[in-house]
Symmetry: D4
Subunit: 248 residues, 8 copies
């Protein structure tokens, strides 16, 4: 309920179109739909500039399908179903045609294309699933990120060919497990915003991503924006916040 | 040494202006000055779009003064000395006139003013020193952030009056200790990029900022960009990356 | 063995009805039944005002059934079997008819209805199993809690419609994973006792509930009562302690 | 801004007493006073039923005095200044006469006496400062808690003399460091609500209160309400929530 | 190679019965048998007073059987195979007849009975497997421990009937998960040596036994001897060390 | 209140010497003295076979002196004041003459000499203060332990000369920081009970004793009895429990 | 691109053989092959003196086979595929004949034999898989390490027979779980470089190798070189770095 | 007591020069000097190839001086006193002339110069004290390491000028705090042995060196040899082990 709406409502009260009781009731009418098992937030996209996203784990296939249906019932931007298993994806896609599944993410109502340049770099091949989640989410927003895999610091020269593109990127996402040093290197090489995503890939003392997470937070390259472990979706959302609502 | 410079150098070799030996030597001439105790990086500002910053702790007052002098010896953008004690600040200011100290930060060569709107919110009064470091660093870049203190979630209505400004901000920095919940709330209320800074303020189970750090990383508000504990400088740098080099 | 009973026993000794040896033996007769594999505590309900509860994991189906039978053999209040698998539930229900299973909890001898108003709020849909355990346990005590799911802080307006009920509740249970911020918000909005239950739902840096647990303990909202991770049963018991034995 | 106030405001708009613009402004007028360095929340007491409390650490003596003054400027309940040092206490008391300091806590406007019975038990002598903070805070609310020190489980018989009082208490606070086992014992002996406060007292493997905190959260006595380490103030607030606003 | 043996060897050298070279070789002849995959230590029983024990996990069934065979090939005390699965137990028993399996432990060559009184107490039913490992290991040494299950502190009166026996025990083993408070209580009630075994049983904040482990180490009851999580075998060995080699 | 006393009391009731009311009062008369700030437990020595010990930190000098005086007021065994500072020691010694201070421990009423052989080994010189606390506490019990310092595993041959004594010891205490490996070595060399005390000495990755603590708990030498970090007093109490009350 | 190559390239530019544009392109030609899913680093062996190794987990069988094929397409040293499952090994071996699988490691193009003496010691039988990975990797380099299993510190005499060989070894790898004390012992007995590999073998308080890792890092034996948990491959690489490229 | 000495001793017994009793006594004569407070190990240098080093913290100035004197009393290699304060250094130097103090390290009897090339790199200026300890210790062994400070990954080009030297080094020590990424970069650029030393320098999420330690252990550059936090001495010893006893 934004300010113009509030002002209009008050004018209606003043003009007698609306009684005080009705106004109170109206003020209580919140912009979400209560499905019993979920409260679908129809205004999140407007408020946060982010897609409507449904996190799959812990939900039944029916719940997934139902929440997606509710979100698509109102006009709006892209709708995502993330970290799905096959059963959830099948149920959601069959009830809500038009979705596209890539890996563990399903997207409906992709946004129009945008022209900003976003790079996604991974340190190793094992970081690809997280990078894919990020790429697909950015795709739902209309971006067409360039994903460069396997350019970790053990062979730092593999990054050199990307220097020009790094310098011109509007945003860079670095996806790395193990010790996560790639984020520090990239942060030192570009002035663009850098979102660092630690992954749970690794062994020895990687501790399921905790080492990479700490290393990224303690990076000597200033101004890295860190998100949670394996959170490719969150990284995409951080980029979307940075690049704003676009010309449209 | 960017691509045009390399191309020019190669043309000089081709034209005979430069011998191969000289070119090798030239390619080795790296853009830093070696003071023995520090290697001052004269091109970081260009490469990263960030100010030259000297972190005080663990350096002698003389070293602080010397590194700042070296950085100011070349033309460029703002120079910062952070987390200084009085002795370091005095030595650096006396050798390098023109600096302005605010709290534990000293700034030389402030950038021209920029018009983007940056908000800094703190959860409590105890978070102010970290917020100040962020504000002063942003000020060195030319920003004039609006700092709103003490609007933590225990009295969430204190945030309501800021909703319009939050909605129109180009970037928001949330500085919070304890359980850091303010970052989640703000992230749910605005589409702007949100940089979350956990602080070491708190007691009970705050664990010197670890609780706030974890809570911000696990936030249910998508797309928060988290930096390290008490890292107001880093948060400002993250904002600077996001808002880019500016029209100039 | 409470004071009046002790006094009576001593009078019996004084009057010669009981010899000293018999009295010693009597004093040794403890109010539990030793089944070999378990010592069933028949007086816990009186002593603690809590239901007799049997925790399923690690017990054989036969043991579960046997302990429940022993508890039902004496008159008393509700008896619960918690975190059961199908085999345990089947064995216990077939040996002890009259139980009602809801999710992973089975209840026998539900207490008479009570009129206090208890709210259970969850931050997300994934927190529902823990909220259900809490709701069923409260139901065994006679309460009819109002469960409101999925009103986490990413869309804080979903909570606004509950403000009146929050203000009038006799007790509120907040069930939340991820960063657990909902507990802080609710604690800031109501004067009622608030029991905060961290859940293991979440990803990124949720660390199986540890982040939510720490955040609730470090909450800037004063006076939150925190229980262990996923401990919906414990939260219900905390509410039962707070609301007391009731008028009956 | 509660519902009746909102209804009145809307009636004023309807009747023309208030223009829509004025109403919007009014709705924006939030019940806090912005001192610049703090946003004093004048309605917290109503909303949460808790005292207005100012946490000393990290605030200047002037800020402490100023915030207390602002809180006392409006009629209301008790005002507390907690964890003060001498300078803060002196400044606050000299600007705001009528306060009473006990240990590190200062209280103004003590509430009228209440009759509920609250017990505070400590495991050892070293837990006393935390217990004192709890006792003084409860005193500000009008309670007169009975504090029993040094009855830890190494000599569990010291607790036996308190059994009757434990059985009749309206609330019990257990303050314990080391392994915190006293909370489990007390929880097993009484049906009253039990608030468990881990303290940082101890050595060997007490880890500054973490061991006691974990032990209380994992207690086999169901329904313990745990607060943060050394948080005597929080424990008192939890009790205040449980016992409610009182007959007055 | 103990001192008398060394003295004898030196006398043989002196008398010419043994050449220096032979003596060096003899001194090198170490009291173990190298099976390639294991170095079986034939003198551990003499040196440590403990049974020969083979830890099953990570060994093939053939290796288990082979090591047991080697140990039984020399005369000596009891031989144990611990934490076996069915395949390991079957292989070992079929190659080495005469063993007795109880739970996950197999024992060969049980020691003659001993008369010392050892009590094993468990806090809950879920602690029984660990207590059983302890009981069987003590049985291999000749002890006949009295195992009392399920007398945790939530119903501390269940322990009262055991007070006499506790007072007269030569050693007490307390097996407890959750918050492990039973060890503190028992330590406060008896002068006997108390070995505390934390178990991984529990939920909420039990953290796989870490909470119980820390609580036992930080116990306010002085002189508890703590072993590792779920280490019933280790607890039995600690008791065996305490009670010594026996009269025989 | 042991069984014979209870029996006597009941006979008195039976014979009419004692009324039921008096008996109840008598049963309530607990064997401790309530000093207000402490509940002095006069029967702990009998119950636990341990000395009366007062832990200094967190107590005023007056409290230390008062508690010691109360303990000495009744006949009994040794009384200890541990971890004292100079002010506490002076106050306690001046009010209670006859005490002997060694390091941070003061002992009154040393027990008669005992003949059991106790060895204390330290890995390094930095472990000596903890070993001293253990030695002095054992001395209060009447033992005359043999303390061998600085025989850590980096030069394992320094231990060889102690092998005979190790083999004949009635109990061995190993005090070690860093990685605590000495406890494993000693445990592998002797059949005697071994109490392992981790110390906070060390650097690199010693983490204030946590590394040594974990290593001792995970030792491959079976049956080590571990106590908390730097807990020399606890180790002595563990030895006292093991060696029992002695012939007297 | 080493210095001579750069010099040659510049000469070519100078002589006109190469245009500036061509030179820039040439300088960009990086020594890796981009397979899309991986960037195969053809010069790592030269640069690091280590084998080309492909880490199996998280890669498809096809990717494994493809990367190995790419590595074998260029002449060079040994190629390893590590931590493979059967499917990965089969695919890689069938596409790239000539590989030899041992346990979870496959080796192609073994280096010629080298004469340095490398010992691998394990504390227990359960450490063997890690030791095997180390042995096979060293074998790929041409070494023929001597593996001595099961000589942990609980029976330290089992190590004595290895003393001569330890003294003459060019490098020693110690593989140990539990408390990892064997590394300290060996470090105290030899002047050779010692690489310590903690393993996840163990129970009680071994915490999946963390205890052994910390103990090895905090070892009182100076100069131990520690690698990550279970990282037998890394230990072999550390040895390879130490012993250098060999005479060839 | 090495093998030739044992053989000689046995010959003396055989020839009657030595009685069996004398031989036993001789075998017991261990190569250390017992000062009461320390057991000085005169053969460590021979056995481990490392200098005799005395760790200052926790020792009195007199003990430091005495242990150094004992070590110098026998002929041998370098003697070090590390992490000294002024009082310890003064006492040790005044009793043992000829020592040279650098920072917190004092060296006596420096070894003759060696020709191997050792590089020490630090990520930042704050890492210098640790690098200095390493440099001075290597100096005591006769090495003349080249220390290059402040070439962390935020400006990775500062490392480029060192590439040739890195390629030719016999060993490289990398000293880095924060996220420790420099070790990974260097490990990827050189085939030389790399010893990685995490330091406690840093802020944000550096956690006193734990982040750098974990990152180095989880490095994607294979074969890094990691030592404990701030352990410059240990790193030097690791290098000494690698480079061996030298030609002399």
């Amino acid at each position: 309920m934004d300010e113009p709406a509030l002002r209009r409502l008050l004018e209606d009260v003043r003009s007698g179109t609306l009684s005080a009781d009705e106004a109170v009731r109206e003020l209580r009418r919140l912009p979400f739909a209560d499905l019993g098992y979920a409260r679908v937030d129809h205004h999140r996209a407007l408020r946060q500039g982010l897609p409507e996203a449904v996190y799959g784990p812990g939900k039944t296939a029916e719940h997934c399908a139902g929440i997606v249906a509710e979100l698509l019932a109102e006009p709006g931007g892209p709708v995502l179903l993330t970290r799905v298993n096959d059963e959830q994806a099948d149920a959601a896609l069959s009830r809500n045609p038009g979705g596209v599944r890539t890996g563990s993410t399903v997207v409906w109502r992709r946004s129009p294309e945008r022209s900003e340049r976003v790079m996604i770099l991974t340190a190793g091949t094992a970081d690809l699933p997280v990078a894919e989640e990020c790429r697909v989410t950015l795709g739902a927003f209309g971006y067409q990120p360039h994903l460069v895999a396997d350019c970790g610091v053990a062979g730092i020269h593999r990054l050199v060919g990307e220097l020009d593109e790094l310098g011109e990127a509007d945003a860079v996402v670095v996806v790395a497990g193990m010790e996560g040093a790639l984020a520090s290197i990239v942060g030192g090489l570009t002035a663009a915003p850098v979102v660092a995503v630690p992954t749970s890939a690794g062994y020895g003392a990687a501790f399921e991503g905790v080492t990479a997470l700490l290393a990224m937070l303690a990076s000597c390259a200033a101004g890295l924006a860190v998100v949670g472990i394996d959170n490719g979706f969150g990284a995409a959302c951080a980029v979307a916040r940075m690049l704003g609502p676009g010309p449209g």
